[in-house]
């Protein structure tokens, strides 16, 4: 059925179609309309689930962890401060190998308070063992939520489905909402191999001594390796059912591209317009959109980027004291390439705290690099630079 949905509405419909059984969530802008939508669906009987209206995000995820441990398909959603408050349990969910799906609406971290998008909230959870999928459109959101359950339940790792604040969460788009019967065929009811069970009483989550701990973590890492293939497989299967295939990354006009622009989420939509215009002019530019960030498709990226003339990475995030996070990750993936194959990389940090990234910005980055005017490995874009950086560095306001 075709519907006009904003990103948040697409999340709620994805959760409904996946037949989540327990929802445990707490409101935060700009995530709220996800859980309001779900509250309506549960209240109207359109979704047969228990919605635990918890007193915090910390409890939101704790409720998902225990409900999942008892065998239910679960869902929660949050943003920024809420995700940070969950942090201890973010580790817990992955360590306990629970197939939880969480929608995170990317929002900048305070202070100062910001409700607008950037990726530092989700990327701060990079090393927790969760899978992360960055979405570009409402269509991709609804499709990814459903796929996330399938992949998570196969590899027993939780997934964060991530969408930009406002640019995606609150923008209405035309969406093909799949039929329930089709989704039911794609995603069978959850049957966890290990759960709380009166027939087989076991203690889950005990103390683990050093002689066993590492093996648990090794298995988590192996599950991530496995998940790379599963995401591709599931994305293809989805394509067979809906005509919309998904991969770990999305390649746009990369044939013959010497200048490759890499980014994630909605900035990719803007980049497409710029790439098209540059191609018109004869500049051999192309776009690589990161979709699945954890597990990290290093080998795939190496293959796609090897031998290109220049690679430009746009990060709507920053690992302070180093680079943008996508930039560093891609750079590390390319390290294994022989010198002649390894393209020079240029990182741009832009759009933090929801600052708009316009076509002109991307055009400026790409042209600056292509024409050799920008040579710095990392640049902050569209930012008011102080005359005296040493002094500015220690003045707050």
């Amino acid at each position: 059925m075709r519907m006009v949905l904003k990103g948040n509405g697409a999340v709620a419909h994805g959760v409904r179609l996946a037949r989540a059984q327990v929802i445990s969530a707490y409101p935060i802008t700009p995530q709220t309309s996800i859980i309001e939508g779900l509250a309506d669906m549960v209240s109207e009987g359109k979704l047969d689930a228990k919605f635990i209206k918890v007193e915090s995000e910390h409890s939101a995820l704790a409720g998902c962890i225990s409900a999942s441990s008892a065998g239910a398909r679960v869902f929660t959603a949050t943003s920024a401060q809420g995700l940070a408050l969950m942090h201890e349990l973010i580790h817990w969910a992955a360590g306990a190998r629970l197939p939880i799906v969480l929608a995170n609406v990317n929002r900048a971290m305070a202070p100062g308070w910001s409700i607008w998008t950037d990726q530092n909230d989700s990327l701060s959870q990079r090393d927790t063992g969760w899978m992360q999928v960055y979405c570009e459109s409402s269509q991709e959101v609804v499709d990814s939520v459903i796929q996330a359950y399938k992949v998570s339940e196969k590899v027993l790792l939780p997934t964060m489905v991530i969408l930009d604040a406002f640019f995606l969460s609150h923008t209405y788009e035309d969406v093909e909402v799949p039929e329930q019967s089709m989704v039911d065929g794609f995603l069978p009811p959850l049957d966890l191999p290990q759960k709380m069970d009166l027939e087989r009483p076991a203690a889950l989550g005990n103390l683990v001594f050093p002689d066993r701990y590492m093996e648990f973590r090794r298995k988590m890492d192996l599950a991530h390796d496995l998940a790379l293939g599963v995401w591709e497989e599931v994305g293809r299967e989805w394509g067979g059912l809906t005509g919309r295939s998904y991969g770990l990354v999305e390649e746009y006009r990369l044939e013959g591209a010497e200048l490759v622009f890499v980014t994630a989420a909605t900035a990719a939509s803007t980049a497409r317009v710029v790439i098209d215009a540059m191609r018109e002019e004869g500049i051999p530019a192309g776009l690589l959109r990161l979709r699945v960030f954890r597990p990290f498709p290093a080998e795939l990226l190496r293959g796609v980027l090897a031998g290109r003339k220049k690679v430009v990475v746009l990060d709507r995030n920053c690992s302070f004291g180093h680079h943008g996070i996508f930039h560093q990750e891609i750079k590390s993936a390319l390290y294994g390439l022989p010198d002649a194959q390894r393209p020079p990389m240029y990182g741009f940090i832009a759009g933090l705290g929801g600052r708009d990234i316009r076509p002109d910005d991307i055009d400026g980055m790409l042209r600056g690099v292509w024409e050799g005017r920008i040579t710095d490995p990392v640049s902050w874009w569209d930012v008011l630079e102080a005359k005296d950086p040493a002094r500015a560095a220690v003045v707050m306001a």
């Binding site: 904003k6 445990s24 228990k50 409890s59 409720g63 409900a67 999942s68 441990s69 349990l89």
Partner: protein, 326 residues
């Protein structure tokens, strides 16, 4: 009046026969928390699931891949016992398994302090779980630091003997009662039949139930292992820990009228109170009197005030429902 300790012959106790807790656990000798769990599970029976946050019991149950309980156990983060029980209950409900009791079993730190917020949320929603706080009056697992359940005057490693805890113990039971949950009770390992009865009563009531179980801790209270039950009994008989239950947030019943033995009998058996001088002990006596005045006034209040009106479910008028726009 001296407490009559002779009437409690363990051979005359009437307790359920079945054992769900096995002997191969890791509790210290004389641990009241081990005895408490044994009794709690005797009461609840095998159709029970247990949540254990960080606390001594996270260790007592045994390391991976062992477990001392013959029912499913989920160990959870320190501050999440209550919501974890809620989550399990919700999961069981959606799977149509409505005959399983879910019990959260947390220490005083996990209840009075770090898990307070989540507990308040769970009982405010009146989720159908039993929450037992086994109270050894400090963070014992991390080596005896004060909690807000530590009583006035007690030594802990963070309230050293020359500056012992200056504040009174937080009254968790009253905080739970004020959430208007259907059932709140105190219990003691020295009164096992009373404890078992209360657990069974809790099991028979739908909604949130809170049991505050006082236990002794030889390592943390600096007491003799063989005196654990005696000290627990003296906590009740001196009036330090009243045995009572509260229904519907208003009806108070005192389950055991203490002998009101002088509090020194209780204090002397525990090294954590050894440093107290007469003025501090007198302060404890005066506070006990005040606490009892308050408790008895509540019993009287409950005789005058009826149960709160039963909640009424909103009528849903299908036609009038206005769906929110996407």
């Amino acid at each position: 009046m001296a407490a009559d300790l002779t009437t409690y012959d363990p051979r005359n106790l009437h307790l359920p026969e079945g054992e769900i807790m096995r002997s191969g656990h890791l509790a210290c000798p004389g641990c009241g928390a081990a005895l408490g769990m044994r009794l709690a599970l005797k009461a609840l029976g095998p159709k029970t699931m247990v949540v254990i946050p960080a606390c001594c019991w996270a260790v007592i149950n045994g390391p991976y891949p062992f477990g001392a309980l013959d029912v499913p156990v989920l160990q959870v983060a320190f501050e999440t016992a209550a919501i974890s029980a809620s989550g399990i209950k919700a999961a069981l409900d959606v799977q149509g398994k409505d005959d399983i009791t879910v019990m959260a079993w947390a220490g005083d730190g996990g209840t009075f302090d770090i898990g307070f917020q989540s507990l308040s949320g769970t009982v405010e929603r009146n989720d159908d779980i039993i929450y037992v706080c086994y109270d050894n009056e400090a963070y014992m697992n991390t080596g005896i630091q004060r909690s807000s359940a530590t009583p006035y005057g007690a030594w802990t490693t963070t309230t050293p003997a020359h500056t012992p805890k200056a504040e009174p113990k937080k009254n968790m039971v009253e905080i739970m009662v004020e959430h208007r949950i259907p059932y709140t009770a105190t219990a003691s390992i020295a009164f096992p039949e009373d404890f078992v009865r209360k657990m069974r009563k809790a099991q028979s009531i739908r909604g949130a139930k809170f049991i505050h179980l006082w236990i002794s801790c030889p390592a943390g209270h600096k007491s003799e292992e063989r005196s654990s039950v005696k000290i627990a009994r003296l906590a009740v008989e001196t009036g330090v820990f009243p045995l009572y239950e509260v229904e519907d947030g208003v009806h108070y019943t005192i389950n055991h009228e203490p002998a009101f033995t002088d509090v020194t009998e209780y204090l002397e058996l525990q090294g954590r109170f050894r440093h107290l001088d007469e003025s501090q002990i007198e302060n404890i006596r005066r506070n006990l009197e005040w606490e009892w005045l308050r408790l008895r006034a509540k019993v009287e209040m409950g005789q005058k005030v009826p149960s709160p009106p039963a909640p009424v479910k909103a009528k849903v008028d299908e036609g009038a429902h206005e769906p929110r726009g996407e």
